[in-house]
Amino acid sequence: MEIKTLPIAELRKLLAAVSDHGKQHLIEVEADLLQTTYLLSEAIEKLSTSFTAVHEAVCEQQQVLDALVAKYAIEKPVLEKLETFKSKIGEEVNVAVTSLQFQDLTSQLIARTIKRVNGLKDLLHEVESHSNEMDPSHEHEEIVKFLEEISNSLQVGSHALSGGLRRSVGQKDMATGEIDLF
């Protein structure tokens, strides 16, 4: 098949389809990320409430134990065992408090990802929006102009995406962070 003219209409159709298809995927990605955010928020709220309630109960239990130890003659091995439990609970509470900070980190990462998804949606919209009518007598010039416009839009969009989204969470695990006193 001999092509006498540039397949501009087909090119536009392809770009519009790519844009539309990409945006549909990104809409789903954004919806999943938002759902994850809600689930994590609800989980952390319940975990924190339960953690605080368990800690308060353990503290009250410890007060009862302390009163019993003061009132009755408890054998030394039992006292040592109670101290070991107390120490172990304290260590685990510290680990739990550190771990329960996960939502602060994940919510920042998810928010950043959602901004990137929206940036990509804007880029795809730009690809689709360059659909002005072309003058058939100046096909080559028109397609060059068309491609330049898309290229410029992508460049501006990419710059905005990389510039406005500085990485604020570099943590790879929930190990405690460093401390500097000035």
Partner: protein, 122 residues
């Protein structure tokens, strides 16, 4: 009388963990949800220490510190940053704004208390 610490963070769960840790060590804790809220609460009552996040809506941590340092009553009050940010560039900005220390999240309660005690005492 217990010393009072202002904890500023937009994350409710983080504020809860900070308050839990500090209260267990005997400190009173005032909570604020962002820099502006922190500034308002700091003006209502001068606290002994400010512990603030960096990335927050409305007003970030560095801006809060700059605003606090302009208040006469906060020129010598210790201010610590507690943030996910860990770059040397951000730490330098914090120091320039008037922060006295930088703690990277997540924090360990025991180490947080050690730092607070070192800065303002028990």
């Amino acid at each position: 009388m217990a010393k009072t610490i202002l904890a500023v963070d937009d994350s409710g769960s983080l504020r809860q963990m900070v308050a839990f840790s500090l209260k267990a060590a005997g400190y009173d804790v005032v909570q604020a949800v962002d820099g502006q809220d922190g500034l308002n609460k700091a003006k209502e009552k001068t606290v002994d220490l400010v512990l603030t996040d960096q990335n927050m809506p409305i007003m970030d941590g560095l801006t809060l510190i700059k605003n606090l340092r302009e208040l006469g009553s906060y020129q010598k009050v210790p201010i610590l940053m507690l943030t996910t940010e860990s770059s040397d560039e951000m730490k330098a900005k914090g120091k320039a704004a008037g922060a006295n220390g930088w703690l990277v999240k997540p924090f360990d309660p025991k180490r947080l208390i050690e730092v607070v005690q070192k800065v303002i005492g028990s």
